[in-house]
C-alpha cells in the first residue's frame, strides 16, 4: 500500500476550530513521523469532533432553504456560488475533512460550538415543518416579510417551538417535527487502545486510518440518504418555487430534547446507520422521519423538466437549472 502523508495539528478543545484557519490543517493521511508527536487519543477526538461538524453540515445544508441565505452577507453567498471546480482557491480547510466539499451553510457553523467543546454530548437535529394557517392570505402579507424564512427555532422560540410567530405574520402556525437526527459518540469506559509499546506503532496509525475511512464512508451515505428522505422534497420545492408558499422548514440543534410520545414515534420510521467502532467508543447516527408529509406540496409526483430559474441574492443575479444543481 502506498505510504500516506499526515498533516495534522491537534487543537485545544477549548478553542473553536475555525478561529485561526491559518494554523489548521486537516487530516488527509498519516505517517509515523508526524503521528508520533501527538497522542492517538487527541487525533481520534479530532476526527470525532469533525465528524459531528460535517454531519451537521450535511443535514442542515439540505434542510435550510436558500431564502434563509438573505440573513447572511452577499459575500458569503456569492463565494459559495462562484465556482464549480475544486481549485485550491475555493477549497476551504473544512472541505478537506472526509474529502467532502459542501456548499456554505452558516447555520451549521453557528450550531457547532457546543460539540467542539465536548463531543460526548449527543447532537440532536430536529427538522421542523412550519405551516401557515389555512386562511393565511399572501396579499395582506407585509412586503418585508414576503418570503418565508428558515429560522432557528431555538433562537427565536427558546422555550417552546409552538410559540406564536406574530412578529413574522405567523399566527397560530402549525409546526411539526418531520425529522429527528441523532449523532452520538458512545464512549466505552476503561478501554485501552495502546498496543503495549510506548512508541506510536504502525498499528495505531492503522486504527486512525480505519476510523477516518469508515467515518468518510458513513458521511457519504448520510449525504445520499438526506436526499432520499421525504423532507428533501420540501426543501427542494421551497428553493425552486418562485411563489410564496404556505410552509417552510425550520431546524433546532440541541444536546437534549423531549422524547417523542409513543404515538408520535409510531408515526415515524427509523433509519439507523451502522455505527463506526473506535477503541474508546462508537460513532452512532440515526434518524426518525415522517415517511409522508401530507398537505404540504400540491405538486403532482411527475418528472421535473429542466428549467432556468432566475434567482437574486443581493445585487447578484444567478440562475439555477431546475433539473440539476451543484452546491458550491
Amino acid at each position: 500500500m502506498p505510504p500516506l502523508s499526515l498533516s495534522l495539528r491537534v487543537r485545544s478543545k477549548l478553542k473553536p476550530l475555525f478561529e485561526d484557519v491559518k494554523g489548521f490543517v486537516p487530516i488527509i493521511g498519516l505517517t509515523a513521523n508526524m503521528a508520533s508527536s501527538h497522542s492517538e487519543t487527541e487525533k481520534m477526538e479530532q476526527i470525532i469532533t469533525e465528524f459531528f461538524a460535517k454531519g451537521l453540515h450535511i443535514i442542515l445544508e439540505s434542510r435550510t432553504p436558500y431564502v434563509s441565505l438573505r440573513n447572511f452577507s452577499c459575500e458569503q453567498i456569492v463565494t459559495s456560488l462562484s465556482s464549480s471546480s475544486l481549485s485550491s482557491s475555493n477549497v476551504q480547510p473544512r472541505d478537506k475533512w472526509f474529502n467532502l466539499a459542501l456548499r456554505e451553510c452558516p447555520a451549521a457553523l453557528e450550531n457547532i460550538d457546543l460539540w467542539r467543546q465536548s463531543n460526548l454530548e449527543p447532537m440532536v437535529i430536529d427538522v421542523i415543518l412550519v405551516q401557515r394557517p389555512v386562511d393565511w392570505n399572501p396579499v395582506s402579507f407585509s412586503p418585508k416579510r414576503d418570503l418565508p424564512k428558515s429560522v432557528s427555532v431555538k433562537e427565536r422560540y427558546p422555550f417552546s417551538y409552538n410559540t406564536d410567530q406574530e412578529e413574522l405574520g405567523f399566527e397560530a402556525n402549525s409546526e411539526k417535527i418531520i425529522e429527528r437526527w441523532v449523532l452520538q459518540y458512545e464512549g466505552r469506559k476503561g478501554k485501552d487502545c495502546s498496543s503495549g509499546s510506548r512508541r506510536l506503532s504502525k498499528s495505531n496509525n492503522s486504527t486512525l486510518h480505519t476510523l477516518y475511512k469508515k467515518s468518510t464512508l458513513l458521511l457519504k451515505s448520510l449525504y445520499a440518504t438526506v436526499r432520499l428522505l421525504p423532507a428533501y422534497k420540501i426543501f427542494r420545492d421551497l428553493n425552486l418555487s418562485g411563489q410564496i408558499l404556505a410552509f417552510n422548514l425550520a431546524h433546532r440543534v440541541s444536546s437534549f430534547v423531549d422524547p417523542f410520545t409513543r404515538r408520535e414515534e409510531a408515526e415515524m420510521q427509523k433509519f439507523g446507520f451502522t455505527p463506526v467502532d473506535t477503541c474508546y467508543g462508537r460513532l452512532c447516527l440515526s434518524v426518525l422521519y415522517q415517511s409522508s408529509v401530507s398537505g404540504v406540496s400540491s405538486e403532482p409526483s411527475m418528472p421535473m423538466s429542466p428549467r432556468v430559474i432566475p434567482v437574486m441574492w443581493g445585487a447578484h443575479w444567478r440562475t439555477l437549472l431546475g433539473g440539476s444543481h451543484q452546491f458550491l
Binding site: M1, L86, N99, K220, S221, A224, R227, L228, H325
Partner: protein
Amino acid sequence: MNCEVCPLKELEVEHFEIREVLRCILHTIVFHRALGLVRPKDIDSELFDITYVQCGDMELEKKIEEKIEQFVSWVEKHPNKKSQICLAFYEVKSKQPSWFSNKIERLYWEQWYINLNVTRNPKAHSGKSHHSKVVVDPGEGSLEERSSCREALEASLREVLFQIIKFVNEKKDHVPPIPNLEGAVSFPYEITIPSSSDSAFGMDMIKRMLQTGHPTMLS
C-alpha cells in the same frame, strides 16, 4: 480481504427508462467509492422524483454515459431479456512478466450486480437521451396504468438506492485504505455489460470469480 458482492434487487424497466435508472444506480455506487476530494453534484432525475448524487468528475460521467449507451445498444439487439451489469472495484497487482503473459492482475474487492428486466420492445423509441432531453414512450397502455407502473418503478428504484446505502454501511472492512491521490475517484473500477455473445459474458463472469478467489491483504 475477500471480495464483497452485492446483487441489487431486479428492476422491471421499459426501454426509455433504462438510461435514467442506470444513471441513478451507477452514480450512487461510485459516489460512495469516490473517497478523494469530492464536491458533490445533486441531480434531480428526469423521470423520477429522486435526487441522486454525482461526484462532479467529468471523466467519470463520460465513462458512465458511454457504458450506458453500449448497454442500450445491446438491449436493442436482445429485446425483452433479463440482463445484468456489473460494476466492480479492484486493486492492481503487477505480475511477473512471462513468455505467455504480461498482464496486470486485478484483484477485485467489490462487485455490484445491477439486474434489469427490460419489458418493452425498443422499436417504438428513437433517438438518444444523453443529457436533459427525455424521449417519452408513446407506447401502449392507459395513462393510469403507465402512471402506476412508473410509481412502482420509482419505489423500487428508491429501494435499490437504499439497498446500496445499507450495503455501504454494513460492509466497510474490505474497502482498501484511502489512497493519497489527486482526483475524486480513488479506486480503479470497471463496468461490464453483456457482450454480443452471451457465452462471452458468461466467460467474463467466471474469469472474475476465479480472480476474486485470491485474498487481498489490506492494512
